[in-house]
């Protein structure tokens, strides 16, 4: 393996992603790009200020920062797992990105390693977003003496956890290849990761309460996750850096050795439902949605969760249904070929209704059994109604995100930017309306009006894209 080509290739991936993200959809216009960057920086700054204010108000000068830092240390693993899961699941669709390098003189192993390097920089970026605010405000409050502590209790464990996760992932991929089911990894990997999250969450909680308890009782608490912090406390920063380097030096060659040598393409569709449905245009839209791989992943998650909730007698409204409504993000771009194939694709409003309607059918098909299970567990139907409202509004919003920030194969970021921006705006609007203390009926009315606005913008966006495709306006 040549190290130089690994670095070169990962730089190529970065360049591709950055240019692709900044050149598509709404982000293609400089004004939208500037305001997006501004909004993101503002959100991060706001996050920092909020965390500084909260920590100073509640923990400043109380000496309680010590156990809080330990709790944060114990939860680092969980957060890194979340970031890893997100990036992994996002890039499941990214075969296109890997295909970029198929005509370059690199081996499969170098390609895998380059992708791992690219991915690790992304996970690092996400970890900075999650723990950056906490680290900065802790150091600001307690002074620069805290820098080694923050390093040893947050950043070193994050690096080691990430490396171990990668090793685990490649082991899993090797096992799937040995069992000859590697083509299904798009279904199996998210499930394994979700299972990991389900196991890690209660454990992290348990550890946090143990840390709090031993602090109150004045005991010394030790867990493997706190290794670096303990070493830093007992011996000093340099030794913990040395240990970090030693473990990394042990794990990285193992990753290189275990990374699969051959490339197996991933399955994209499941062929079910009769093709006769394609007689009607609406039927084609239904087929596109139901047969896609992502829908299957979402449905299997919902089934697993429902069975789990049923067995464990969890009395909780079926918010898990919202998972399926996020398919709306792909609805527009997945069905785009349908509108390109014919000379006259039909009226925009009709196409929009087909897009949203097919998702409504999917929601109904999945929702009826799930809600029946919830009702049989004693949840009232009134408690399920807000869930349905949320799902419907989520379908509309995610379809708009898919139109304004069209996802492509190999570039999941445009969508992520769109989803992030939308979540920020929706949260701000929801919080703002909450301050007004409106009557529930008036609030429902306002939300309906906002959803109508979302529909209006979606149709507007679709019409504009159609006109660009017909060369009626300049993009």
């Amino acid at each position: 393996m040549r190290f130089k080509s690994v670095v070169l290739l990962s730089r190529l991936f970065w360049l591709f992603i950055v240019r692709r993200v900044l050149g598509r959809g709404l982000l293609a216009s400089p004004a939208a790009r500037l305001s997006t960057i501004f909004l993101l920086v503002l959100a991060f700054a706001g996050f920092n200020v909020l965390s500084y204010v909260v920590i100073r108000q509640y923990l400043g000068g109380t000496g309680l920062l010590e156990p809080v830092l330990q709790v944060a240390n114990a939860s680092v693993g969980f957060w890194v797992l979340i970031a890893y899961t997100l990036i992994r699941v996002l890039f499941m669709k990214a075969d296109e990105l890997l295909k970029l390098s198929f005509n370059l003189p690199v081996t499969n192993k170098e390609r895998t390693m380059a992708f791992a390097l690219f991915e690790s920089s992304l996970v690092l970026l996400m970890t900075v977003f999650v723990f950056g605010a906490f680290s900065i405000s802790t150091v600001l409050i307690e002074g620069p003496d805290y820098i080694p502590r923050v390093l040893a209790s947050i950043w070193f464990p994050a690096i080691s956890t990430y490396l171990l996760l990668s090793l685990g992932y490649y082991l899993l991929e090797r096992a799937l290849q040995a069992l000859r089911i590697a083509r299904l990894r798009g279904l199996i990997v998210p499930m394994v990761l979700a299972f990991g999250l389900a196991v890690a969450f209660p454990q992290t909680n348990e550890q946090s309460s143990q840390i709090a308890e031993s602090y109150v009782l004045g005991r010394d608490y030790f867990a493997p996750a706190l290794l670096y912090a303990k070493l830093q406390e007992a011996v000093g920063l340099w030794l913990s850096i040395l240990i970090l380097l030693a473990t990394s030096a042990a794990v990285i060659p193992a990753i290189v050795a275990i990374a699969p040598r051959n490339y197996v393409p991933m399955r994209r569709f499941f062929v079910f439902l009769p093709s006769r449905l394609a007689d009607r245009t609406f039927g084609v839209y239904i087929l596109v949605l139901f047969r896609s791989f992502e829908t299957m992943v979402a449905i299997s998650f919902i089934i697993i969760y429902s069975v789990f909730a049923w067995l464990e007698h969890l009395v909780f409204p079926p918010y898990v249904l919202a998972l399926i409504t996020f398919q709306g993000v792909y609805a527009f771009s997945n069905s785009e070929p349908l509108r390109r194939m014919v000379t006259y694709p039909g009226r925009t409003v009709a196409n929009y209704l087909r897009l949203v309607g097919s998702q409504g059918v999917l929601l109904m098909v999945v929702g009826i059994p799930v809600i029946t299970i919830s009702l049989s567990q004693g949840i009232t139907f009134e408690a399920c109604l807000p869930v349905l409202g949320l799902c419907l509004s989520n379908i509309l919003i995610s379809t708009l995100v898919g139109i304004a920030f069209p996802p492509e194969k190999g570039n999941p970021f445009t969508v992520i930017m769109g989803v992030l921006l939308t979540v920020i705006v929706v949260m701000i609007v929801a919080l703002g309306l909450n301050v007004f203390n409106f009557d529930p009926m008036i609030s429902a009315g306002i939300f309906t009006a906002l959803n109508m606005l979302v529909v209006f913008y979606s149709i507007l966006g679709m019409r504009r894209m159609e006109r660009i495709a017909r060369h009626e306006v300049v993009a």
Partner: protein
């Protein structure tokens, strides 16, 4: 049609900006009010925030809008700002187009 579209976009943008201002001032008010029974107001008296003790010793929060005028003012100001920026941008674009056409001739 063009003006209808532009006004709808303007309304949306100013609505979101107003909400951002309301939420930001709400959060700052929340962190400046710490004593029980003291009524704090933010955003030039538009929002109020009052923690008071319940009979069982817990602290309850009362939040709300006491005066809608400043919020409406924020909305109007951002709408005016948006309209001004949009029309200036439009002029500049027209100007650029004209210059390019003059170059071609």
């Amino acid at each position: 049609m063009k003006w209808l579209l532009r006004s709808i976009v303007g309304m949306t943008v100013s609505f979101v900006v107003t909400m951002i201002v309301v939420v930001a001032s709400f959060i700052t008010t929340m962190f400046s009010a710490s004593e029980i029974g003291v009524r704090k107001s933010g955003l030039f008296g538009a929002l109020f925030f009052e923690p008071h003790a319940k009979p069982d010793g817990a602290t309850a929060l009362e939040i709300g809008v006491s005066n809608g005028a400043p919020i409406a003012l924020v909305f109007a100001a951002s709408l005016v700002f948006y309209v001004a920026v949009a029309s200036v941008l439009e002029r500049l674009k027209l100007h650029k187009k004209r210059l390019l056409q003059a170059n071609q001739d």
